[in-house]
Symmetry: C2
Subunit: 338 residues, 2 copies
Amino acid sequence: MTIHQTPSRLVTIADVAREAGVGESTVSRVLRGQGSFSKRAGERVLEAADRLGYVPNRLAGSLAGNADSAGSQLVGVVIPSLTNIVFPDLLRGLTGALDGAGFQSVVGVSDYDPDREEALVAGLLSWRPAALVLTGLEHTELTVTRLRAAGIRIVEMIDTDGPGLDIAVGFSNRAVGHASARHLIGRGYRRIAYVGHDLGRDLRAAKRLAGFEAALAESGLALHARELVGDRSSAASGRAALEALMARVPDTDAVYFSNDDMALGGYFACLGRGWAVPERLALFGCHALDITEAMPQPLSTMRTPRLAIGRAAAEALSAGSPPGTIDLGFELSEGATA
Amino acid sequence: MTIHQTPSRLVTIADVAREAGVGESTVSRVLRGQGSFSKRAGERVLEAADRLGYVPNRLAGSLAGNADSAGSQLVGVVIPSLTNIVFPDLLRGLTGALDGAGFQSVVGVSDYDPDREEALVAGLLSWRPAALVLTGLEHTELTVTRLRAAGIRIVEMIDTDGPGLDIAVGFSNRAVGHASARHLIGRGYRRIAYVGHDLGRDLRAAKRLAGFEAALAESGLALHARELVGDRSSAASGRAALEALMARVPDTDAVYFSNDDMALGGYFACLGRGWAVPERLALFGCHALDITEAMPQPLSTMRTPRLAIGRAAAEALSAGSPPGTIDLGFELSEGATA
DNA sequence: TCGCGCTTTGGCAGCGCTGCCAAGAATTTC
DNA sequence: GAAATTCTTGGCAGCGCTGCCAAAGCGCGA
């Protein structure tokens, strides 16, 4: 092994062409396996490229390529959070499938802030991505304008309760909330409370609650109580919120949580206080996180197809699906807590 | 609002120059706030850019810019997993700080596979990133060769047990394992078992175990038993593995888990079986995930500075820190399970 | 009014790559 | 054997931007 000096200039296609004794275009064709070239040329180029340690410069490639529209093979992704495991799951499905199709993901985290999303979208667009994948259907006016002007494919993940900009992949959060309430009502619970995190920011959770309350109303019921924590969704918040709720409204017989991690915290509160679940208090979550399946009593929750959403988003993009909504549904995970 | 046709050609700097009645260079200077230009020119350019909805093309910018080395403002990131919350945490710290410094992250997930990492690194390098951020110190030979040849800054996160390529930010996994064992020994446990996931892939977990066993050996002890699941780390795996272990070696008095989520699964197993924690069985985890702090008995574990590692990585890059290792340490989270 | 030094400005050559085109080589057809 | 067809190939323009340079504009003292 030789001492390696940082080369003053990286190897370019011209270097490879010289080394292989062919023209630049030939190198380009061989390296992309496109167009026609002789076997001999192919071998020489590949050999030369290896010998020089050539790494193509996609920046240049994308710039030169089809300059009209989607130049690059980058896909911009904006998710609201990495804390809530829901979004890493989405990301996993997305990047997994995107990788397979030869795309790279540029990721931004908006922290549930529309203005932050706006800034991220602007930044991402400057890389001339082939497409942009966002979370949710709500965006600032400027964001929408920019997205329209960019003339690229847009995917909005996780929410199908409303018109999308281009392709929407997800499920109806309203329907999830509605079905959750139906389940609790069916089980005979009547004094049902809600425990959630900041609704102003997490609009999907707000939609679930709206669907939930609608179902209650259909049965002549109303939310027995609600306890909101300003914080982001977490087990600790769920635990604290449930304890606060029960101190305030002790005759509550079931609780609907904004999220499984909140519900897990609630379960911990019950364990700590010795409240029998579901006899004393029933718990119902959302999303069916892996963790809640390992609980002594598996959590009653709604399984949402997070991985599949990410994958479907990627597939819709690489397949060039027409605009529209792809509803992947959800499924009751019966569990043993409600 | 007018009907918006996808423009056949996106607005370029030349369009802005024409609209503003100035030269291209002036537009470039104004837009980047670099070099000198008159107030008047500045205003006209900004106005024109807004009017046309100009979005700079960073592809072109990076290509033209300082072509010698770190052209772009992209930073490549490779993490092994998004399932294990440890990595989203790293990513969060990283992207947060990187955003602040004007970088965008291109993310790849290697799934703990060195060959996959190799492919991802090759792919990321083709975007001529300003730097690359990897996880762990172990890479294929070809990966190392390519990284060296790229002549860019490299950060390796989370592991400081060995020589890094450039900048390493993290903590000593060996030391974590060692300290965990010291704690258990100090508490009087002697029949200590290990429950973990696939060690061949998660090399950091393997290093922790090595440190753990070394500490045991220093006290004249050895691992009482070990139970490995081929699966990835999860609460369900932890639960199943602990039950299998206890069926096999029932006199175990403490268990060291590869990870907090495995430990949480173990805790659930204890709850289900009615094993008193820590009297019948002590549990010790790793990483101090948020969730485990909300448990009725907080998990005894090691708090690792995941967010800080991501942040420190970003800062080392933007500050142009010299090569070397940044050890952020770790901290015992005493909890109540061991 | 002129000349000097400073600020401001526009033109132009690339950055590395791909698409297009036309020329040359190889192959086939009659 | 000549013409027609196909396959290979290299040259060159240009993607949108920035850096460099020289020219133009400006302020001010002599």
